[in-house]
């Protein structure tokens, strides 16, 4: 179920990549900044189900929405949207600055636990990091 949903998302991401590529062909000046992260997105997305240390922020969603990691892992969030986003822990333990297009934020999780977070600009966006010892 999760994998099926994720595949569907990957297809959407790839489609978006194609659309953006089309745009950059006709309007290179306006979109040159977005074409590179989009290209790397289409490569990394299919190989990152729910473990790993990368979270994409794409289409107003954290992908994957739940990331499973070992204690001590540094997680990197990358904003692929034109809109700025943040990564803000519900318990206040971490809070990124505003992340513009292509910006990244990293946080190291030293101990086991489940850490829920939202985008403080668009708080309907939810994600969580599940840390095991």
């Amino acid at each position: 179920m999760d994998i099926a949903r994720f595949r569907k998302h990957s297809v959407a991401v790839l489609a978006a990549g194609v659309l953006l590529a089309g745009c950059s062909a006709s309007r290179p000046a306006a979109t040159s900044g977005t074409s590179m992260p989009t290209a790397s997105m289409s490569v990394t997305a299919p190989s990152a189900p729910v473990s790993g240390d990368q979270v994409s922020i794409d289409g107003f969603a954290f992908v994957p929405a739940t990331l499973k990691i070992k204690a001590g892992t540094t997680v990197v969030w990358t904003n692929r949207d034109e809109e700025p986003h943040t990564v803000a822990a519900s318990d206040g333990s971490f809070h990124s600055p505003g992340m513009g297009t292509g910006a990244t934020f990293s946080h190291t999780f030293p101990a086991a636990g489940t850490f829920d977070y939202v985008c403080s600009i668009h708080p309907m966006m939810h994600g969580s990091v599940v840390v095991t010892a």
């Binding site: 969603a61 949207d81 600055p97 505003g98 297009t101 939202v118 403080s120 668009h122």
Partner: protein
């Protein structure tokens, strides 16, 4: 291109989603709203007691394809206000002055707004103005004269104006919080019930589309304190499109943006900036004129597309 037809289509679409609460007449590139009938039209020639202009969502610092020159379009909006043919009593910017709350963006937008020809410029913060510091940089730039986390009120020409901050401590929707609710209760306690009330906020105080966070979770309590007043008008930004709704004694008006359009509620999965076909951007942007004439229970609004 026919701008009137465009606007009418948009309004018809609004009506289809939400049902018509307010009638609109389109004339000469302007959208004039009346509430339930001819009262406003009958008094159209009386000299207004209060006239002000609203701009919103300038997003200074945004550089995406939907509008690569947000400073340019905001500059046009300022020019348009300066050429209304009269000096507005004040100008209100209903938030998202900046895109990312950086000190440079606050400097830039503040400097631009010094070009407004009006005795007073008022603001409320958007969530883009309080991205990572609970509004500290916003209050440094624009918070003079405010209390609490940036809210305030004032009286002008017999009208009581309340400016609220609902972009801090967000869980899902806009949020006012206990301190601000207490402020509103105390603020209006001394006023007689026939005092016209105008409320500014960034996020709508009505449930425009909660799935996208377009509402305020504790607004009902604030509006409860205003229930005894015969005329309450709430003006907001945030949604980058015109919309209006009446609930009892309160009429809500969402304003458009000077930066870039957002989708209509539920149109697509998320409120992502919309890139319009070349030449169409200005039709989605604009400014709003608001006037109040003593003796009337409603304010007159005039929406102007960006020229």
């Amino acid at each position: 291109m026919n701008p009137d037809g465009m606007s009418r289509r948009q309004l018809l679409r609004h009506t289809a989603w939400f049902g018509a609460a307010v009638g609109f007449a389109v004339a000469g590139g302007e959208v004039i709203s009346h509430i339930a009938g001819a009262e406003a039209a009958e008094h159209a020639h009386a000299k207004p007691t209060l006239r002000f202009a609203q701009v919103s969502d300038s997003h200074i610092g945004f550089t995406g394809a939907p509008n690569p020159d947000v400073a340019g379009t905001f500059g046009h909006a300022i020019e348009q206000i300066n050429n209304l043919g009269y000096t507005p009593d004040f100008v209100i910017h209903t938030g998202d002055l900046t895109h990312l709350s950086s000190p440079e963006q606050f400097d830039h937008v503040k400097q631009m707004m010094t070009g407004l020809k009006t005795p007073h410029v008022f603001t409320v913060p958007g969530e883009h103005d309080s991205v990572d510091d609970a509004g500290q940089k916003y209050r440094q730039a624009f918070g003079a004269g405010s209390v609490g986390d940036g809210w305030y009120s004032f009286d002008i020409s017999g009208v009581h104006v309340i400016a609220l901050v609902n972009t801090l401590n967000l869980r899902k929707l806009g949020h006012l919080g206990a301190d601000q609710l207490a402020f509103v209760e105390k603020d209006v306690a001394r006023l007689s019930s026939d005092t016209p009330i105008i409320v500014f906020s960034h996020i709508p105080l009505f449930a425009m589309y909660p799935q996208w966070g377009w509402g305020t979770d504790d607004a009902t309590q604030a509006l409860g304190y205003l229930r005894r007043f015969s005329s309450v008008t709430c003006l907001n930004g945030h949604v980058h499109q015109l919309f209006s709704k009446t609930e009892g004694n309160v009429t809500f008006y969402s304003g458009t943006t000077t930066a870039y359009p957002l989708p209509h509620p539920g149109d697509g999965p998320a409120p992502k900036p919309v890139t319009l076909p070349a030449g169409k951007l200005h039709d989605a942007l604009g400014i709003r004129e608001v006037s109040y004439t003593t003796g009337e229970t409603t304010l007159a609004l005039k929406e102007q597309r960006l020229q």
